[in-house]
C-alpha cells in the first residue's frame, strides 16, 4: 500500500538522499518533463529539473548518461525534437511534441480486435513477434480490448528461421545494399551476389529477398535458405530506394509459379488390383484388364502438369502401366530406366 499522496515528493529529500534514481524512473520523468514543456529545454536545464541527473559526479558523466538516455528514447520511437527557443540561444534544447508522440484515436469492433489477436499470433520470429506484441501493448493502452486467448478457426504461423532474415530485413529498412554468397541449385552454382534490397517476402512459408541485382542489372529474388554465410553491408544506409511501382509479392509469386498455363490432358493407365491408391483417388475406372497375368483396372486420369505427373506415376513402378499418351509412357520409362541403372 502506497496511496498516501504527500509523502513522496522531492522536498522530503527522498530523491536527494538517494545515490541513484532507477534508470527507468529517470527516463519516465524525462519523457513527462519533455512532453509538458513547450519551450526547448537545454541539457543543463534538464539536469537541474529531472530527478536522477543531479547524481552525476561530473559534467562528463552527466552528458554521457544524457546521451545514452536520448538514444534509448529515440530507439523506442519517441520523437525527440531538437531546437532553440531564441536565435541568441547558444545551445540546443529538447522537447517532445505531443501530437507526434501520441497514438491517434482508435476504436476496434470486437471482430476487428479478433483479427488483430490472430494477426499477432501469426508471427513466430524473434524480429517480428516482439514488434507485434509492442503494437498490441499500445493498442491496449489506447483502450482497445484484445482477447488473445480467443479460440480461432484457422491457425497459421510465419517463421523466420533463416539466419539471413535479420540482416536482410535490417538492410531493407536501412536502405543499404548488401552482398552475399548464394547457392543456385540447378544449374548448380555458388557465387557472390550484390543486391540493392527492396523487401523480404514470405511466400508459402519460404522467405525471399527481392531487389535490384547489380550484377544482372535487373530485379531478382533470392531464397533466404540458399544464402550461404554472412550478409555483408555495402555502402551507406539510405542509398537504396525501392521503386514505387514494384509489387514485391507479385514478383515473388510469379517467379515461383510456372509461367506456362496448365495443359490439361487425359491419360489412360493400367493399375494392378489393390495397388496405386494415390493414383486411384484421382482417377476414374473405365474397365478391367490383366497385364502380365496380373488383374488390374483401366483408369482415366486428368493431368495438368505432364512433367510432374511423370515422376508421380513412375514412383508406383510396375504397379502402373501408362497406355496413353505415348509421350507420357516414354517420359515415365526414361525416369525408370535412369533409376534402374543406379549410380553411374
Amino acid at each position: 500500500m502506497f496511496g498516501c499522496g504527500g509523502c513522496r515528493g522531492r522536498e522530503q529529500g527522498r530523491y536527494g538522499a538517494l545515490v541513484s534514481v532507477a534508470r527507468a524512473e529517470r527516463l519516465v520523468n524525462l519523457v513527462l518533463c519533455l512532453l509538458s514543456t513547450r519551450q526547448y529545454l537545454s541539457a543543463e536545464k534538464i539536469r537541474g529539473i529531472v530527478p536522477g541527473y543531479s547524481d552525476a559526479p561530473s559534467d562528463e558523466a552527466f552528458f554521457r548518461t544524457f546521451e545514452r538516455d536520448k538514444t534509448e528514447l529515440r530507439e523506442l520511437g519517441i520523437p525527440l525534437e531538437v531546437g532553440r527557443n531564441k536565435v541568441v540561444d547558444t545551445v540546443d534544447g529538447y522537447r517532445i511534441a505531443r501530437r507526434d508522440y501520441e497514438l491517434g484515436e482508435i476504436d476496434l469492433e470486437p471482430d476487428e480486435a479478433a483479427a488483430v489477436a490472430l494477426a499477432v499470433r501469426l508471427w513466430d520470429s524473434p524480429e517480428l513477434t516482439g514488434a507485434a506484441h509492442g503494437a498490441l501493448l499500445k493498442l491496449r493502452a489506447a483502450g482497445v480490448d484484445v482477447d488473445q486467448a480467443a479460440p480461432t478457426v484457422v491457425e497459421s504461423k510465419v517463421r523466420t528461421t533463416e539466419p539471413a532474415f535479420g540482416p536482410l530485413l535490417a538492410a531493407v529498412q536501412a536502405g543499404q545494399a548488401v552482398a552475399f554468397d548464394y547457392r543456385r541449385p540447378s544449374p548448380a552454382e555458388l557465387r557472390e551476389r550484390t543486391l540493392e534490397p527492396w523487401g523480404v517476402v514470405s511466400w508459402r512459408s519460404r522467405w525471399y529477398v527481392v531487389g535490384h541485382d547489380r550484377d544482372r542489372g535487373a530485379p531478382r529474388c533470392f531464397r533466404l535458405s540458399r544464402v550461404v554465410g554472412e550478409v555483408r553491408k555495402l555502402g551507406k544506409p539510405g542509398a537504396v530506394r525501392r521503386p514505387d511501382d514494384v509489387n514485391l509479392m507479385a514478383f515473388v509469386a510469379n517467379t515461383n509459379t510456372s509461367a506456362e498455363p496448365p495443359q490439361s490432358s487425359t491419360a489412360l493407365l493400367w493399375i494392378a488390383a489393390g495397388r496405386g491408391a494415390g493414383l486411384r483417388r484421382r482417377a476414374r475406372v473405365v474397365g478391367e484388364r490383366s497385364v502380365d497375368g496380373i488383374v488390374g483396372d483401366l483408369v482415366e486420369l486428368d493431368l495438368q502438369y505432364p512433367d510432374t505427373a511423370a515422376g508421380w506415376i513412375a514412383g508406383f513402378g510396375a504397379d502402373v502401366l501408362v497406355l496413353e499418351p505415348e509421350v507420357l509412357a516414354k517420359s515415365v520409362r526414361e525416369r525408370l530406366l535412369a533409376a534402374a541403372r543406379g549410380p553411374l
Binding site: 507526434d100 508522440y101 506484441h133 499500445k138 493502452a141 510396375a318
Partner: protein, 324 residues
C-alpha cells in the same frame, strides 16, 4: 530486448492503459502486459514516484488502490500511448494482410476494417519492407472439405473421414475428434484426435477424400496436446530408419522440402544427405519418381529395391510397347 529494455515501453503504456480501465483488477492488467502481478505492482510503485517538474504532491502520478484493483487518479499528462513504430506497424499490418489470403480465417471485411483503422491511427509509420503471402492452394473440393471441417469445429462434433496416407499409399476410414484447422507451408490441415491411431494426427485437407459430420460430440481426451509445428511437420520418430542419398541438382529440392541431416556439398552441385523414413515403400516411390536424380548409397537393401522395381517396371513397359 532485455527485461530492462522491455520495462520502459510497458511503463509508458501502463498509465493510459489504466486510465482507460478504471478499477481494473491488477491480475487482469498483469495478464494483458504479459508480466506477473508482482512485477506489475513494482511498475506501479515506480510510476507513483514519477511526475511533472516540481514533483510535489499535485505533480506526481497518483494511483489509488482498492483491494486488488487499481485506478489512476492523476496521469501527469500521459494520457495516450506512444505511437506505433515503423517496425510495430509493419509487424501488425503485414500479418493482418496475410490473413486476408487465408481461406476461412476470419471475416475478410473485419480484417480490412482493422487494417484501415490501424493505418490511420499509426500515421506515417514507414513501410517496413516485409510482405507475407500464405499462398494457400485450395482446390474447390478441398474448400468444401474445409468448410465441413470448420462447421464440425464450431458445432464440436466428431467427423468420419476417408483419408489418403501418402507414406503408406492407402486410403483409410477414420473417426476423428477435430481440434483445429491450421495452415502450414501454404496447405490446410485438420488437427484431430484419431480414434484409430489413438493419438493426435494432422490430416492434410487435400487428402481428405470424404468427410461426414457425426451426431456424436467431438471429445479429444484431455491429454491430447496440439502438435508443435515450429520445427516443421516431419518429426524424427524412434522407429525410423535413415538412408544416405546423393541428390543431383534437379533433386536438391528434396533437401529443402523434407528434413535432412548431415548435409554435404559434393562436386557438380550434388548434395549428400541423410534422410529419415518410416516406410520403405514411400521412399522407393520418391526415389523412383526422381528418375536417377537421387542415388541411394545406404542402406544397400533400399538401393537394390529401387533398382529392381525400376527394372521390373521398365520390362513391363517394354513388353507392352512391343505388343502394341
Amino acid at each position: 530486448m532485455t527485461a530492462a529494455q522491455e520495462r520502459l515501453p510497458r511503463l509508458l503504456a501502463l498509465v493510459p492503459y489504466l486510465l482507460a480501465r478504471p478499477g481494473i483488477p491488477i491480475d487482469e492488467a498483469a495478464t494483458d502486459f504479459g508480466v506477473s502481478a508482482k512485477q506489475l505492482r513494482k511498475d506501479l510503485e515506480l510510476l507513483w514516484m514519477c511526475g511533472l517538474p516540481g514533483y510535489g504532491p499535485g505533480d506526481l502520478i497518483d494511483i489509488s488502490f482498492d483491494e486488488d484493483t487499481v485506478t489512476i487518479a492523476f496521469d501527469a499528462g500521459m494520457r495516450r500511448p506512444l505511437r506505433l513504430t515503423g517496425a510495430e506497424a509493419t509487424a501488425l499490418l503485414v500479418a493482418l494482410r496475410a490473413l486476408l489470403d487465408a481461406p476461412g480465417v476470419a471475416e475478410a471485411d473485419a480484417i480490412r476494417r482493422a487494417v484501415a483503422k490501424i493505418e490511420s491511427a499509426a500515421g506515417q509509420a514507414r513501410p517496413g519492407g516485409v510482405e507475407v503471402g500464405l499462398g494457400v492452394r485450395e482446390a474447390a473440393e478441398t474448400a468444401k472439405v474445409r468448410e465441413v471441417v470448420q462447421s464440425a469445429l464450431r458445432a464440436v462434433r466428431a467427423l468420419r473421414i476417408s483419408y489418403y496416407t501418402a507414406s503408406k499409399d492407402e486410403v483409410t476410414e477414420r473417426t476423428v475428434d477435430p481440434m483445429r484447422v491450421l495452415i502450414v507451408d501454404g496447405r490446410g490441415y485438420l488437427e484431430a484426435w484419431c480414434r484409430r491411431a489413438d493419438g493426435v494426427r494432422l490430416f492434410r485437407l487435400d487428402r481428405v477424400d470424404e468427410v461426414v459430420v457425426l451426431d456424436e460430440p467431438a471429445a479429444p481426451p484431455p491429454y491430447a496436446e496440439p502438435t508443435d509445428t515450429s520445427e516443421g511437420l516431419f518429426r524424427a520418430a524412434p522407429d525410423q530408419r535413415s538412408a544416405r542419398l546423393v541428390l543431383r541438382p534437379d533433386a536438391r529440392w528434396i533437401s529443402e522440402y523434407y528434413p535432412v541431416e548431415d548435409v554435404e556439398e559434393l562436386d557438380g552441385g550434388k548434395l549428400r544427405v541423410r534422410m529419415r523414413y518410416s516406410d520403405v515403400s514411400w521412399l522407393v516411390r520418391l526415389v523412383l519418381g526422381q528418375g536417377g536424380e537421387v542415388v541411394v548409397e545406404e542402406p544397400a537393401e533400399l538401393a537394390t529395391a529401387v533398382r529392381e522395381q525400376a527394372a521390373a517396371a521398365v520390362a513391363r513397359l517394354d513388353r507392352h510397347l512391343a505388343a502394341t
